[in-house]
Amino acid sequence: MRYLTATTAKQAVDALAAEKGLTRVLAGGTDVLVQLKAGMVEPDLIVDIKKIPGIRDIKAEKGGFRIGAAVSGAELGEHQGVRAIWPGVVEAFELIGSTQVQGRATMAGNLCNGSPAADSVPALVAANATARIEGPEGSRDCPIGDIPAGPGKINLKKGEIITSIFLPPREKGASDAYLRFIPRTEMDIAVASAGVSLELDGDGAIKAARVALGAIAPTVLLAEKAGNLLIGTKLDDGTLEKFAKACEAMCAPIDDKRGTVEFRTRTAGTLAKRAALIAYARAGGSR
C-alpha cells in the first residue's frame, strides 16, 4: 500500500485515476481504517485529502453553506451558522459514533461509505443538498440522493472525489430534523432513521416537505409521496398517522443482527412522524 498526501484536488484526482489497483480516499478515516483492520479491503493506494486547501473550511455561499469534504463532525457542530438553518443535518452528522469519531468523521466520508444506514445521508437528502465532485473530466455538482448506489457502492467514477457538500439557503419558517433508532443511546448503527425538512407558509401550514428514510432499503430513500401528504397541513394526528403509514409502505428492509423487517418498518414510520413534529416546531409551527 502507498500513502499519498494530496495538496491539490487535481493531484488527488490524477493519482486516483492513474492507479491501476484498489484505491481509497482518506478524510476522517473512521470507516476506511476499520475496513483495513478487518482486512475487508487491501488498497494499493490511499490518498489523504485533508491537506487540500479549503477542504476543511465551512463557507457561506449564496445564502447557504459549502462544507468542505474534510470538515469533521466536531467542527460542523461548532458552526453556529449551519446549526441555525440546518439543525437536522447537524444533529444527524453529530449522531455518528463517539466524541472521538466526531473528531475525525466527515459527511462526505459518511456518504461515500455507501451505507444505507449512514446517519447524515437522510438529513442531506431531505435538505436537498448537493455534492461537488472533482474528477478527471472536471467539476460537477450532484444531488446527494443520486450518489448512493447500494450497500457499499456509490455512483462516483474512477478518479472522482467529493470536495464539498452544499447546503442550500433557507427561508424563514423552515427547518429540519433527523431521528434514528439505535438500541443503546450512543455508539450504534441506525436500525431505521428519518430526516424531515419542512417549509411553512405564513399561517403555519406546511408548503413544502422533503422526507428521507434510512436503513430500510439498499439506499436511503426520498419518501416523496409521504412528504406530499404533509403539504397544506399543520400535522394533525390524522395526517401524521397517514404519513407514518406511507413511510412504512415504502420500506423494503432486511432482517439482520440489528433489526427485523417488521421492526425497521414500524420504527421508520414512528421516527418519521416524530421527526416531522420536531422539524415543524423548529420551523415555528404550532399544532
Binding site: 482518506l26 489523504d48 455508539m187
Partner: protein, 158 residues
C-alpha cells in the same frame, strides 16, 4: 511496503519515526515509541481505550494512520501529569475509586480532560454522552462520573 518518515510533536516533545503506510498511530505510539499508555481494546473505534488528542481534537488513535501525524501536535496519557504532579482528573480518579482494572482509564482521562477544556461545568448527562465512546466494563461508570465532577469542581475553583 515502503516506510514513511514522520515528524511530529508528542506531549510537547519532538519525535521522528518511520512507519508503514497502513500502520495506525496507536501502533506507532505503542510499538515504535514505547508509549503504551494508550490501549487497543478493539482497533475499530468502538471502545475509546486508545484516545489521544491531535491538534486539540479528541480521537481514537486506532483510527488514525501514523503517517497522518506529520506536523501534528499529539497528546497522550503520558503527557497528562506535570512531572510528579498529577492532573486533578488523575487525582480524583484515584480518590473516588473511579478505576478497577484500569485498562480503560488512560482513554477516559484523556477524553474527560478534553471535555473539561471545552465545558468546565458539565452536567452528569453531558459527561455521560461525551464519554459514551469510552467503554468501561468494571465500574458501571458511576464513580467515573463522580470523579470527573469532582475534578471539574476543583478546576473551576469551586
Amino acid at each position: 511496503m515502503k516506510s514513511i518518515p514522520v515528524s511530529t510533536t508528542i506531549n510537547g516533545d519532538p519525535h521522528e519515526f518511520l512507519c508503514a503506510p497502513d500502520e495506525t498511530l496507536l501502533d506507532v505510539l505503542r510499538n515504535r515509541l514505547g508509549l503504551t499508555g494508550a490501549k487497543e481494546g478493539c482497533g475499530t473505534g468502538d471502545c475509546g481505550a486508545c484516545s489521544v488528542t491531535i491538534d486539540g481534537r479528541l480521537v481514537c488513535s486506532c483510527l488514525v494512520l501514523g503517517a497522518e501525524a506529520e506536523g501534528a501536535e499529539i497528546t497522550t496519557i503520558e503527557g497528562m501529569a506535570d512531572g510528579d504532579q498529577l492532573h486533578p482528573l488523575q487525582r480524583h480518579f484515584i480518590d473516588e475509586a473511579a478505576l478497577q482494572c484500569g485498562i480503560c482509564t488512560p482513554g477516559i482521562l484523556v477524553a474527560a480532560k478534553s471535555l473539561l477544556e471545552k465545558n468546565p461545568d458539565p452536567s452528569d448527562e453531558e459527561i455521560r454522552y461525551w464519554l459514551a465512546g469510552n467503554l468501561c466494563r468494571c465500574t458501571g461508570y458511576d464513580k467515573i462520573i463522580r470523579a470527573v465532577q469532582a475534578a471539574a469542581a476543583e478546576m473551576r475553583g469551586a
